[in-house]
């Protein structure tokens, strides 16, 4: 139904929320039968250029176990200046400042168009942002030079009052003392021995700040009590010295003999970084940025030994339980990640090397804290340089898009409970009446912490309908959910973003059509995919695929009960099986042909992107350019690969431009250079221009593949399209259209046939 698509889109634009179901089943039993859980994708800091924040604090419900924020769903008695909380029904008095409100003079937070509203918190000291660079010096000369230049450049992009620090590591770990005069000093630690936070703080001579953060009142910016660490200094004071210091960095001096890897003490370096920030600036926005050019080979957190002849673990090794260091290393980084998240800091990993660097073991550092993971071949590539620059992109107001130290608090009306969340967060273990015992994702809590986030960070939040089957819901009744996100804005202001939504309950027996029409297949696909990828972290691959298949069969069995002989998909379900088909073949669930590091990298980005980008990852976009008309989307299918077409495929991680055979021949013959064939020149340029639009904005920067029929890099396209024609069925259609794919993979057609059979038989 066209109207539901509009409804869904408007809600996403306004509230940053996409629900799997937009009309909710009114009982637990019915909800379970719907197969796809009631869940939503929430982008807490969705960019809203049209929503200026209000400069006062939110009004809260006075019930201590509730504390919901005043919102448009609340009943208000303007005469008596009372409001009724829509979650717990408590009646609350308005604060004195609201004395002048009336039906015609409403505060913004009561107006329906402000279902999402942002408050600025005025009280409390505003602490500066902190950036701690942790730099691997076991790099090749060119790489190290390129990395140094990128770091020097970043000093020009940081805000002048941000604090910055530097730790370098190789065989030893060096913590650099930043000062404006005299000789530069550093503290050197052995890379083999892990230290506790206290030991690190003692050895660095750190003392806790004299005043707790909340009470500090800065006299002048220069004498700010926060800027008390010798290791973390404001950019405006230290940029010249730090530029020189970076310029003078040398490769790790310890010689690396033939057949050996350099000794890299990443585990201890990170440990020291975490301990340093813990001791000096807990509970304030900070990024630890780890730049590494190879795997950790020494000390706690080592991922592989220094003998080159023993390769780093592959998926095969892991399956055969042949990965010696994996468990211990993962545990080391998990402990660091949890401590960092508890301190409100985040860890980014920038890994540039031709071989693996241990992202599998270190991924929790980025995943639990909301930090970034960037994977490249070398620091001397445009992919790294530009991706790194984009971290410092500014929004329409000239502020950094990055935000820090967020806590997300979810409240539900009593018919719903919270089963869990999947995304770049950790649990705050807050129990309460809204928390379900059945966990999906990170559960057992109604609050999570997201230490690093930006306007695209998206969490999947899963709910459970708990209303009993025989408890009727009043006609026209609505369920409600409120999302409250406290965070530190990049301008260092503390803000609160509140989103309150409501949806209608419906009885499945009598209103199935209505519920079906309100199904959001795109959101449902991404939410199920996140569940699948979450499971894949702890279960065997084939088990996850079986689970996914079972869910799909049950879903369609449910909705085709009435007409088992002709399996028809209504509009609101038409793309869903396709999404599931491509998800099964995606690198998120198929580890074949990817290293463990690559799989970790893809999964990291999948678990945090918004809906549109997540869908691109599941089922890449394919556009066709030809003389026959304007560019058009085409089926991601081998039949779309034609001689007289140019294809542009976006998988999120790669942009592929593929020239059909005839186009390639014409290009080789040079027609684009002849004035009478100018339209051919335009045709060649069109996909390049569209690709450029994508490349200009995306984070992380995708790889760019420009290939043609018969080119070796055409494999990127061929491996993604549905192989409706293979060497097995080439002549089945009677005509040779499109390119056959050499594979034994199941095609979408075969998949759909099986689905129909199984869904119908399970329904009968």
């Amino acid at each position: 139904m066209a109207t539901y698509l509009e409804f869904i889109q408007q809600n996403e634009e306004r509230d940053g929320v996409r629900f799997s179901w937009n009309v909710w089943p009114s009982s637990r039993l019915e909800a379970t039968r719907m197969v796809v859980p009631l869940a939503c994708l929430l982008t807490p800091l969705k960019e809203r250029p049209d929503l200026p924040p209000v400069q006062y604090e939110p009004v809260l419900c006075s019930r201590p176990t509730c504390k919901a924020v005043l919102n448009p769903l609340c009943q208000v008695d303007y005469r008596a200046k009372l409001w009724a909380c829509n979650f717990c029904f408590q009646r609350n008095q308005f604060p004195p400042a609201y004395g002048g409100i009336s039906e015609v003079n409403q505060p913004a937070e009561l107006m329906p168009q402000f279902s999402t509203i942002e408050y600025v918190i005025q009280r409390g000291a505003q602490s500066p942002l902190i950036f701690l660079y942790v730099v691997d010096t076991c790099l090749e000369e060119d790489d190290l030079q390129a990395l140094k230049e990128s770091l020097q450049m970043s000093l020009s992009l940081l805000p002048p009052d941000a604090l910055v620090g530097l730790i370098t590591f190789g065989r030893m770990v060096q913590v650099h003392e930043l000062s404006c005069e005299g000789i530069s000093k550093s503290y050197v630690f052995r890379g083999t021995k892990d230290l506790t936070a206290k030991q690190i703080q003692d050895m660095l001579g750190l003392t806790k700040p004299a005043m707790p953060m909340q009470q500090a009142r800065p006299a002048q910016p220069q004498e700010h009590p926060f800027a008390s660490s010798r290791f973390l200094q404001p950019v405006h004071k230290i940029d010249m010295n730090l530029t020189d210091l970076l310029g003078e960095l040398q490769r790790d001096p310890w010689p690396v003999t033939q057949g050996k890897r350099p000794l890299r003490s990443t585990g201890v370096a990170l440990s020291i970084a975490v301990g340093l920030l813990e001791g000096t600036f807990p509970n304030t926005g900070a990024r630890i940025m780890l730049f590494t050019g190879g795997p950790p080979t020494q000390g706690p957190g080592m991922v592989v030994g220094d003998e080159l002849k023993i390769p780093i673990r592959s998926w095969h090794d892991i399956e055969k339980d042949n990965a010696r260091f994996m468990k211990k290393a993962t545990k080391h980084y998990e402990m660091l990640a949890n401590r960092t998240a508890a301190n409100g800091h985040c860890i980014d990993i920038y890994a540039c090397a031709l071989d693996q660097t241990g992202l599998l073991e270190m991924k929790c550092c980025a995943n639990l804290t909301g930090g970034y993971m960037v994977m490249g071949d070398s620091f001397n590539t445009s992919l790294f340089k530009q991706t790194f620059q984009r971290i410092f992109t500014k929004d329409f107001n000239g502020d950094f898009r990055m935000a820090f130290g967020a806590t997300l608090d979810v409240k539900t009306s009593r018919e719903l409970k919270i089963a869990g969340a999947i995304g770049p967060c950790v649990s705050l273990n807050v129990k309460g009446p809204c928390v379900s015992e059945n966990e999906l994702g990170v559960g057992g809590t109604s609050q999570w912490k997201i230490c690093g986030l930006d306007p695209t960070s998206t969490l999947g939040i899963y709910f459970e309908v708990v209303n009993q089957h025989n408890t009727p819901i009043p006609q026209g009744g609505r369920g409600a959910i409120q999302f409250v996100t406290h965070y530190q804005h990049s301008s260092t202001q503390r803000r609160i973003r509140v989103t309150t939504i409501a949806r209608n309950w419906a009885d499945v027996q009598s209103q199935l059509r209505h519920i079906e029409a309100a199904f959001d297949q795109e959101a449902a696909a991404v939410l199920m995919a996140r569940l699948g990828v979450f499971r894949a972290e702890s279960e065997e691959g084939p088990d996850v695929l079986r689970w996914l298949d079972r869910q799909l069969i049950r879903l369609f069995g449910q909705y085709n009960k009435e007409d088992p002989t002709s399996f028809r998909l209504s509009d609101s379900f038409s793309l869903y099986p396709q999404f599931m088909f491509h998800l099964r073949r995606s690198p998120f669930l198929q580890v074949f042909n990817n290293s463990p590091d690559e799989s970790s990298y893809y999964r990291h980005h999948f678990a945090r992107q918004d809906l549109t980008q997540s869908l691109i990852m599941i089922q890449p976009i394919l556009y066709s350019y030809s003389f026959h008309g304007p560019p058009e989307p085409v089926l991601l299918d081998s039949s779309s690969i034609l001689a007289d077409r140019i294809l542009l495929m976006d998988t999120f991680f790669q942009i592929v431009i593929y020239l059909g055979e005839t186009i390639a021949q014409w290009r080789k013959a040079g027609y684009q250079d002849m004035p009478e064939y100018e339209n051919f020149k335009h045709l060649l340029q069109a996909p390049l221009d569209d690709a450029q639009e994508i490349l200009q904005a995306r984070f992380p920067m995708p790889r760019y593949i420009n290939t043609e029929h018969g080119g070796s890099q055409a494999r990127f396209l061929l491996s993604k399209v549905n192989p409706s024609q293979t060497h097995n069925n080439l002549y089945a259609w009677g005509q040779e259209t499109g390119a056959p794919i050499l594979t034994d993979d199941v095609s979408l057609q075969v998949f759909m046939d099986h689905l129909k059979k199984l869904a119908v038989s399970s329904a009968c």
Binding site: Q152, S156, L157, G376, N380, T381, P631, S640, Q685, R703
Partner: protein, 223 residues
């Protein structure tokens, strides 16, 4: 003012390295982006792949030329990125920026800031010397020189933000050439800016006290 260009990525280190966009192009890209390519086509429910309406005849493609331009020209391509590699010459082609025109104002600005800490000024001075050495030695490219001239103009006109933006664009686009001395220029802009606002504040204060001194006791000065 900033350059707008795209150059290819580092093909030696990464065969699929994406192209590099200049700082000007990247900052332009901010703001809500239209998701240009996000549409999908549903698979046909009966299972056969959709056969596109117009297709070339089966068999090896003909080696004939593409349809000539005399046909109704296609609508211009969607998306209007600048052609790669072309640098718009927004200045008339004349003699390139003169070193003295750039160095002199910078030295002057430094002199103005001598009131501040000695260490900082020595550091800045050292870097300006390095800039001079590199310029004189022909080590700086034309775009860098051009933009430095612009930066100095902005600095002299007290347009601090614009000068800062140019310094940033130089650091992003030409870091290899400028990294050693650019931080000195950056600091100089910051020092000049704070000196200027201090002077302005002092002027306001002294104007206010002057006014007060001129007030005849017993009368309220109209403000």
């Amino acid at each position: 003012m900033a350059e707008l260009y795209v150059k290819p990525g580092n093909k030696e280190r990464g065969w699929n390295d994406p192209p590099q966009f200049s700082y000007g192009l990247q900052t332009q890209a901010g703001g809500p982006r239209r998701s240009l390519l996000t549409k999908r086509v549903a698979a046909p429910q009966d299972g056969s792949p959709r056969v596109p309406a117009s297709e070339t005849s089966p068999g090896p493609p003909p080696m004939g030329p593409p349809p000539p331009s005399s046909k109704a020209p296609r609508s211009p391509p969607v998306g209007s990125g600048p052609a790669s590699g072309v640098e718009p010459t927004s200045f008339p082609v004349e003699s390139e920026a003169v070193m003295e025109d750039v160095l002199r104002p910078l030295e002057q600005a430094l002199e103005d800031c001598r009131g501040h800490t000695r260490q900082v000024c020595d550091d800045i001075s050292r870097r300006l010397a390095l800039l001079q050495e590199q310029w004189a030695g022909g080590k700086l490219s034309i775009p860098v020189k051009k933009r430095m001239a612009l930066l100095v103009q902005e600095l002299s006109s007290h347009r601090w933000d614009a000068a800062d933006d140019i310094h940033r664009s130089l650091m992003v686009d030409h870091v290899t050439e400028v990294s050693q001395w650019m931080v000195g220029v950056k600091r100089l802009i910051a020092e000049k800016r704070s000196l200027f606002s201090e002077e302005a504040a002092n002027e306001e204060k002294s104007a206010a006290t002057a006014e007060k001194n001129h007030t005849i006791p017993g009368f309220q000065q109209a403000s």
